[in-house]
């Protein structure tokens, strides 16, 4: 029993540590940039008092704060979505990007952005973007799930997901052939993934939709644990597998959709973060993993966004480039050092 308690204490300590790290990166993201704002002023502005300069006030409130807030929840959404898919498919290399969910979202966002006029939409609202991304993500997910009733082999299922992704990508490129140059450019920028230019409205949507689903993920930690044993064991433990299958798919699709809609397809966070957390915490228990993944996702996305903005400043690098460059070596290093099976 002592060992169990020790382990719990270690986990709680790591969770607090991750929370502090995420907060620090958040503050750093607000403070650093082309105009460096001292941390003291950042805290003052955030707390809503003090006599910070007006320029600081407006930079923080209009540009940096919405972006940093989006990064926090965006990272968490991606990471949790990745974790859920890894459990669902019982496969360690699954993530929204690999499975073609992101491609599905991209296609539908492409239809909204590139084909906006043809659908006689005067302008593209964040809600349209979101609905597009959501429908796209769900469409690919549905194909994969329908296939999963027929195909029991996980690898086959993955390949079906990949193929669905390819079809979506192909259709997206066909769309670009017919679209205006201007729109293509903005769409291409979107596909590179970036947290830049987040408006308060977008942040609001991201939080209103993202946070409830993150909480739902936290609430299904026990069924998720049962799913670790595989479907048959889960049923024998009294789990209503159909309901939770749908729920897991719904949550991971919505989480992917909501972040893809606003920030574009961001690779690797969904793959790397769950692995890092698993190895750091040394457990597969989802009651610990999900909070850990939420915090670590927020932290990772924060670091990557900071890197994207600062490494080659004033040019901003594509976010996906940074997430992959940073995430891949970390995962490989952790795996080699631990030599553990995941």
């Amino acid at each position: 029993m002592d060992r169990g308690r020790q382990k719990l204490n270690k986990h709680l300590f790591l969770l607090v540590l991750l929370a502090i790290l995420a907060l620090m990166v958040f503050l750093l993201n607000v403070s650093a940039g082309s105009v460096n704002i001292p941390l003291r002023n950042v805290v003052e502005v955030l707390l809503g008092h003090g006599n910070a300069k007006n320029t600081y006030q407006s930079i923080i409130m209009n540009i940096r704060l919405p972006r940093a807030l989006a990064t926090l929840v965006g990272g968490a959404c991606l990471a949790v979505s990745g974790l859920l898919l890894q459990i669902f498919f019982r496969n360690p290399i699954v993530e929204p990007y690999v499975l073609g969910i992101s491609s599905g979202a991209s296609l539908f966002v492409g239809m909204v952005v590139l084909g906006g006029y043809s659908f006689s939409l005067a302008y593209v609202t964040p809600m349209f973007m979101f609905i597009g991304a959501f429908l796209g993500a769900m469409a690919v997910m549905l194909v994969v799930v329908l296939a999963s009733y027929k195909v029991k082999n996980i690898t086959t299922l993955l390949i079906i997901g990949l193929m669905a992704g390819f079809i979506c990508s192909a259709m997206t490129s066909m769309l670009t052939a017919f679209a205006d140059k201007e729109k293509i450019h903005s769409y291409m920028m979107w596909t590179l993934g970036s947290f830049s230019g987040f408006s308060w409205t977008q942040v609001k949507y991201l939080y209103i939709i993202g946070i409830p689903f993150l909480i739902m993920a936290l609430l299904i930690c026990k069924p998720l644990n049962a799913m670790l044993f595989g479907e048959k064991y889960a049923i024998s433990m009294g789990l209503n597998i159909r309901r939770y299958r749908m729920l897991v798919i719904l949550i991971s699709s919505v989480l992917t959709a909501v972040i893809t809609a606003f920030a574009g397809p961001i690779s690797f966070v969904g793959l790397a973060v769950p692995h890092m957390v698993r190895i750091f915490f040394g457990t597969s228990d989802n009651r610990i993993l999900i909070p850990g993944v939420i915090l670590a996702g927020a932290f990772m996305a924060g670091i990557c966004d900071l890197g994207a903005r600062m490494l080659m400043a004033p040019t901003e690098l594509p976010l996906s480039a940074i997430t992959s460059l940073l995430g891949a070596p970390i995962v490989v290093y952790l795996l080699l050092r631990k030599g553990e099976e995941i």
Partner: protein, 419 residues
């Protein structure tokens, strides 16, 4: 009624395709029931149907008198737990964490364990001799330890019945025996009904109360091991070729298909090792005069030896003696295994002396001094060996000598046949 599980004339299978038909099964409290049959006979399909993971094609399974279909999954989980053959990817969970997850149907939404839950988990780990593994990661365990942990996990659900699919495959003999004895104990001490499928004929016959033979889409026999295991049952069940299964001894012997060129005198188990060694070396054998209750008789038969048999506890009759002598004349080699001599088999000694008289090659495994007191003068005509391997070497060399040295390449091809 203390029927825990009852199935009447159910057909099991996938969708409309029936794999095994008309199964009747009744599991009482504390009973250990075993499905025995070859791979692909449908044992797993039956178990899946009984555990509610698969709907029967026709008929219904009743648990405590209620139709399995109508029982809520969560309630069912408190009555019935399973151990499956599926590989689970629980690498980064410790044994105690896995055990805790077995409390699934009993805990609240986030799976918080009360002190009671923890005690039950610890008891279950102790019951399967796995308490010392508590803090180990599942991935680090051996196959046998993993299986014990999965049984503990099932036990922690506090079910009235546990269904296990091939719980002993991939395990070494120690863990096989351990797993079966654990299950036995659960039946006897906790009154849990255990239904399992097995490959191992021995374990099934010796460890289970009720056996169902599953073969060719049917339950071909059902009852206690004593009732259903008759000579030939297993041979038929598994359609074994190239080996013989002896139900009485519960052992499998590779039979030698060769025509006999050796006459072997055995008795009281002295023959068994030599039978096996010579059979492995590719020799066919006669074995003489053995009483029908002799262990050598059973093993010899399983190996495919031709036995000259006498009724149990009777003196060797004149007729049997003559039969043995005639057969002995047709082979070149006679082997004395050093069988104990008593009044009922004393005539075997006469037969050996007879063989020496007619210049057969007689090989004995008893020390020369003993042979002298047993055969007197004739002991001089005997060749002596101490081990079974020497006997086969001696015979092989002798055969080669007779064939002439230019035929040396015969031996490797001989060996190939043996393999």
């Amino acid at each position: 009624m203390n029927n825990i599980i009852l199935a009447e004339k159910i057909d099991v299978g996938y969708e409309k395709k029936v794999v095994v038909e008309k199964i009747n099964l009744c599991g009482m409290k504390g009973q250990l029931i075993c499905l025995l049959g070859p791979n692909g006979a449908g044992k797993s399909t039956i178990l899946r149907t009984l555990s509610g993971l698969l709907a029967p094609v026709s008929g219904a399974v009743y648990i405590n008198g209620h139709n399995l279909k109508s029982i809520k999954k969560k309630e069912l989980a408190k009555k019935l737990a399973v151990v499956l053959t599926e590989q689970v990817s629980l690498g980064l969970l410790t044994v105690s964490e896995i055990a805790a997850m077995g409390r699934y149907p009993h805990t609240n939404m986030i799976g918080k364990l009360s002190q009671d839950d923890k005690d039950i988990a610890n008891d279950a780990l102790r019951a399967v001799n796995a308490a010392h593994l508590k803090d180990r990661y599942y991935a680090e365990l051996s196959d046998g330890e993993k299986q014990k942990v999965m049984i503990a996990r099932a036990l922690i659900q506090q079910p009235e019945m546990i269904i296990l699919d091939e719980p002993t495959s991939h395990l070494d003999i120690k863990h096989k025996v351990e797993v079966i004895s654990i299950l036995h104990r659960l039946c006897l001490e906790k009154g849990i009904t255990v239904i399992l499928s097995l490959h191992d004929i021995d374990l099934a016959i010796k460890g289970c109360e009720t056996i169902l033979l599953v073969q060719g889409g049917k339950i071909t026999a059902q009852g206690t091991p004593e009732e259903i295991i008759k000579v030939g049952t297993i041979q038929k069940l598994y359609d074994i070729e190239g080996a013989q299964y002896n139900e009485l001894l519960g052992s499998l012997e590779f039979s030698s298909p060769k025509s006999p060129e050796i006459f072997l005198f055995g008795g009281n188990g002295t023959g068994s090792c030599i039978f096996r060694a010579l059979s492995r070396a590719g020799f066919g054998m006669y074995c003489g005069v053995l009483h029908s209750n002799d262990i050598d008789n059973h093993i010899g038969k399983a190996l495919g030896c031709k036995i000259i048999e006498e009724e149990a506890f009777k003196n060797i009759s004149e007729a049997t003696f003559h039969q043995a002598r005639e057969i002995m004349k047709t082979v070149d080699y006679i082997i004395d295994t050093g069988f104990p001599v008593g009044s009922i088999n004393a005539r075997n000694v006469d037969l050996i002396i007879e063989a020496i008289k007619i210049n057969k090659i007689v090989i004995s495994l008893i020390p020369r001094e003993c042979a002298e007191s047993r055969y007197g003068e004739w002991a001089k005509g005997i060749r002596y060996c101490t081990r079974a391997s020497e006997v086969s070497k001696l015979i092989r060399e002798h055969k080669q000598e007779r064939r002439g040295t230019h035929n040396e390449d015969l031996q490797p091809s001989d060996r190939r046949q043996i393999i």
